[in-house]
Symmetry: C2
Subunit: 307 residues, 2 copies
């Protein structure tokens, strides 16, 4: 693979940025990668493990002279960081981000983008329950989607180059407008995360069942919720606060449906339950066929061994 | 490992029974294993793949002369099957089951258990999203829990032998009373399953987001729900109908908590969300420490390869 950008700057060095760095290196996609993280500890770790060619002590230092600057900070911090780096952005450079919400990020960042700099918001649909500079790996984006959300007047060349960059990191790329992106993600990600967080909290709260019982007997379904509910709290707080409307809409639909199923249980309507469960099973099949999950039982967990 | 029972009969040949058979064979725990399934097709498959030493054409034939008879049918069918095999049960034999609900199963089965036959209900907390006679594997129970739920007057020797049997199949064994079992399982399994089914149904229903979008972009959290929601519809219909009270209680608590989080989103109460998510993250850690899940990212899914 050949170089796509001379210099790439990664602002924020968590799971996504660190995975981007290793994916860039895997295929030689940039001449130099600079990085910045707000916390001194994260910068120290990055320097120790060789994350980024050069770790800078300010966002502006990292962004200065870069051909691509990627904001990899929580959604709620995007505006502040954009304001900080705006004065040093190189004419003709592209600024992008990896936030899970797009409308709010665009509204927060766009006002700071200088004339002659191209803003192309993006969102790689990839992650694990781990976070921080050590959690990244080069394969994170392989065969996963990255959604580009060009704004009005996004430069087509700039969009095309960013697409090439994400494809070279292993992702499949699609374009979508911000409003639709936020609704799709509310369904496929934001509402499921809130629901998982809720269920895990309920289990923890219940006095008549001890925490140790919940933990020991979690293999019966609950543990899959805990994985989702282990994701980074700051990131998720910001996601819910900035994708408020779509998330609340989906949760409203969810509650409505849950009440209907609760009613079927209460009234003993077995046919309603059976039909519903048969329909949901077909969706699982489609996801496996689409290559977005493994068919191996239990997500391919090695059965029965303590890790 | 030495033989625990001369003859074991497995009634119903799905995921659990087929895994039991292979686990029994792995360690030579029975002299002969007979099996029966209601569907001719399942019996044919069982004969083809060597599942059970002898596949019988009636439950009574399979149970006749067995030292241990295990009912591995959906919870709603336990009573009917017990009535069918009761006349042929050998004096001194143990009858057990693997149902996910215990109070209802005990009420359905106990009246048919003849004098001199020992009834020891059980529930192995193990499974995958697959079902049917081909889905079983010997390691399913390794390091998983099996809960024994002795009834009033269960013979201690009979309980002890069944415990030895499950331990020899790889499980850790605990005893619990039926009511507590049903509440613990409502939290760790039944409510999470209903919630996952609901969310998958909502996604499928939503007109403004296409099914193909939901499926393609599922990696962002939703796909973990679909795995749970792919479990056997008959089994789960019966579970909800027979563990009605505990499931509805937990769902009530869940809805209450979900409303509180929805309210925090609506009012922009970031601290409430952050604190809640931080607490749930700690629970995930405990589950990994308890050996009930893997710490590998993404459940150890091979990242990014089509399977």
């Amino acid at each position: 693979m050949s170089q796509v950008y001379d210099r790439v700057a990664l602002i924020g060095l968590g799971l996504i940025a660190s995975s981007m760095f290793w994916a860039i290196k895997r295929s030689g996609l940039a001449g130099e990668v600079t990085g910045y993280a707000r916390s001194q500890e994260t910068r120290d770790i990055a320097r120790q493990i060789g994350l980024c060619d050069r770790v800078c002590d300010s966002a502006a230092d990292a962004a200065k002279g870069a051909d691509l600057v990627v904001l990899c900070v929580p959604v709620g911090a995007m505006g502040v960081v954009a304001a900080e780096i705006a004065p040093v952005l190189k004419p003709g450079a592209t600024i992008s981000d990896v936030g899970s919400v797009k409308r709010d990020v665009i509204d927060a960042v766009a006002p700071y983008v200088p004339q002659g700099v191209h803003f192309v918001p993006a969102h790689p649909l990839a992650g694990t329950e781990h976070s921080g500079p050590k959690s990244g790996f080069a394969e994170l984006f392989d065969n996963r989607w990255c959604l580009l959300v060009p704004t009005q007047g996004s430069d087509p060349d700039s969009v095309a180059t960013l697409r090439k960059f994400w494809e070279a990191m292993g992702a499949n790329v699609n374009e979508m407008d911000a409003e639709h992106h936020d609704l799709v993600l509310a369904v496929t990600s934001h509402a499921p995360h809130l629901i998982a967080y809720t269920m895990v909290g309920v289990a923890d709260d219940l006095r008549r069942v001890t925490d140790s019982e919940v933990i020991e007997y979690s293999a019966a379904g609950f543990r899959d919720f805990t994985r989702i509910a282990a994701s980074d709290p700051t990131m998720w707080r910001d996601v819910f606060l900035s994708n408020k409307e779509a998330t609340l809409e989906i949760l409203g639909r969810f509650t409505e449906e849950l009440f209907a199923l609760q009613r079927a249980i209460r009234t003993g309507d077995g046919d309603h339950l059976f039909d519903y469960f048969t329909r949901t099973r077909a969706i699982r099949r489609s996801i496996i066929d689409a290559g977005q999950d493994t068919e191996a039982p239990n997500f391919g967990r090695d059965p029965g061994h303590k890790e």
